[in-house]
Amino acid sequence: MSLPPVTAGPPGSGPVALSPAPHAGATAPRAPRADASAPLRVALVGNPNTGKSTLFNALTGLRQKVGNFAGVTVERHEGSFRLADGRRVSVLDLPGSYSLSAGSPDEAVALEVLLGRGGDARRSVARPDVIVVVADAQHLERNLFLASQLLELGVPVVVALNQIDMAARAGITVDVPELVDALGATVVPTVAKRGQGVDALRRAIARAATLPPAERRFTLPAAADRALAPVQEALVHAGFAPSAARLEALRLLGVAHPESHLADVAGLAALVERARASLREGGLAPDRLEADVRYAWIGGVLGRCVTRRAPAGRSASDRIDAVVLHRVWGPVIFVALMALVFQGIFTWATPLMDAIEGAVASLGAGVAAALPDGDLESLVVDGVIAGVGSVLVFLPQIALLFLFIGVLEDSGYMARAAFLMDGLMRRVGLHGKSFIPMLSGYACAVPGIMAARTVENDKDRLATIMVVPLMSCSARLPIYALLIGAFVPPAAVLGGALTLQGVTMLGMYFLGTVTALAVAALFKRTLLRGPVRPMILELPAYRWPSARNLAISVTGRAKLFLRRAGTVILALSVVLWALATFPKHAADPTLPEAVRQEQQLERSFLGRIGHAMEPAVRPLGYDWKIGVSIAASFAAREVFVSTMGTIYGVADAEGAGSRALTERLRTERDARTGALAYSPLVAVGLMVFYVYALMCMSTVAVTVREAGGGRVGWTWAGIQFAYMLALAYGAAFVVYQGGRLLGLG
């Protein structure tokens, strides 16, 4: 283990944590907390792209919990480790922030935790005992801005000077003892990716808990001190520590509206406004005062601690960007990469999905053999195992998608993709980052909606979630394939380059995509109206993604998906099973199994729903059997095909190419009119219906969760379901009735 020379400690001593000598007048070292057995609470804070998550993984290993902060959709990562003396340290990985001013929900959460003040009663937050700031040694000037704010919180601070190896390669040398002296905080050089300095960091955390808290290291001009005094007083009166009050008073000068954690400070907005006025009188610009004083101080610190060799030519990142962001090659590479991701999710997951499907089927068969015939067997096999199995099948796609997203994100490409797509997405009112979730939707809406987390703005994220299911997912494919195979002739078009079947398929994908963009634009102009946020994007230096990070993040996502969506799916599966099973129909036992199944289905609650729906689906050209299939597929659209198989008594209708079922559909006659039940027009209308209809309970469950959970989540999921159903019905109606008017029926 060797770290680049950072002039820390005697040569050859390895990574060293240097702590500041208590300065004169500082408060005496803190007495250990009364309850020594309670875990030490550590908050990990830092700018995005500093390797903070890698350091968190290195510190805590697999002892992690992923959840949400109460009441917000901000992910909460918590882990723990044990000190040499057996004491437990719990580490909270706060969302990446550039500053303590809450510009996004992520940053608001970070601020609330650090101040120990929840924005509302539901969020009780315990203040950390130690703050670990992860600072990128290469970009110390910007990273020290956040660090300088954290130093004023009145909590002991440890600075993890991360990616010190990359800094050394870029010709940057940091004098650690000088930095310790300048910051008044412990500094530990680390290379989180290789685990270097992590032990030293653990020891430094334990020791820092007994050190006096860090303090502000610069002084404000006297006029500013005077102007801010009333604001500070009000904050101290409201329970802020004096040091945190000084930080907040200065910070509030540049903040348009005090954040929610300050809601209970009486008259704060007016006090801040008065402070601004008095600063202006004194010739100071209030909105830039904080940036001025902090960067001025940082400039001094860097002058003391950092030496920089002139860089030799362009950096590797610049050379990669010259190609990746090239006006011509950039978009080409982007499209190629996205095609690879799409294809990967689409095809590479197939063997695994087949394996899971096979395993679920054999488990079902095994259980069916073990249990006596009857309702219990049916509930366990057809309800629970088949229902939960239908969710498990999505797992490989979700894992693969998040693996791809992880690689794109960790390598630094994701920010470039957002930059490239920003022009197009801006036209519909979304941010460039919304593109990835929408693209993922081609594979499956569930991971697509989960991927919308990368969109920071709340309204943009919701608008993205609302339209992702319009992208034709892989579950629609069996339906398209069945209906196209049955009713669209394989005639050559474009001089034989394509067939009419292929063009129809492409048309369905195109229809979904165009509609998704249009609906997003509509949402952004109505329910989710908000300014198109101008692009402010950091393009981080390219890095090799860490396999360990990817593994931890993929397994975390997979667990989250299984736990949350799985519970809802389980409940809905049982409900759907009951609807299809009851009331029991005593069928003639001499009839073939398929006929008995058809009769049971027709007389079940689900069958009655189908019949009741018939007047509603008539205008679309459907009979009750299609109605039942649609009703049955409300939970999962691919069920449409297997239900059609059951209804038409075709054994083994699984698989889109089932020739028996296509043949049967072509010759099926309407029970009432005697005319052919299906025409190409009905088939196209039905496909259009499935392009738009949200018939997937996994998607509903994940929308509930990602749109905020609870009543808010259910409301958005309801809106999503309703608008898509209305769109589906309307479009199918227009296709069928319009086609008949044109004489196509």
Binding site: S101, G103, A291, L325, M535, I536
Partner: protein, 110 residues
């Protein structure tokens, strides 16, 4: 201004731009005694400049300052297209036109 910030103060008094924004918008008037300023959006690839004034939404300004883009900071324009790519304090940023049009800079001789 504050003597405390002398390190960050450009050599010429840029407070002029704050009181005369009309002049700031006019980059062509080559008054030799007044510092020439223009919108950041008007700078081409390869230009170097010092930020003089930022006029954008409060939350955007707040975010930009945390990213290191604030009055007195030096920027290198790397590329311009639907958005601008620039280097600030060693960080590569992509900024939309809505942002760069509201930032007044004083171009530096390259």
């Amino acid at each position: 201004m504050l003597s405390l910030f002398s390190r960050r103060k450009p050599s010429r008094d840029h407070s002029l731009a704050a009181v005369a924004p009309e002049r700031a918008a006019d980059s062509t008037s080559a008054g030799s005694e007044a510092p020439r300023t223009c919108a950041l959006a008007a700078c081409g690839a390869g230009a170097r400049a010092t930020i003089v004034e930022m006029r954008c939404g409060d939350s955007e300004a707040c975010r930009l300052r945390a990213l290191g883009l604030c009055e007195g900071a030096h920027v290198n324009v790397v590329e311009t297209r639907h958005a601008m790519l620039l280097d600030v304090r060693g960080t590569r940023l992509a900024l939309g036109r809505a942002i760069t049009a509201g930032i007044t800079v004083q171009p530096l001789a390259s």
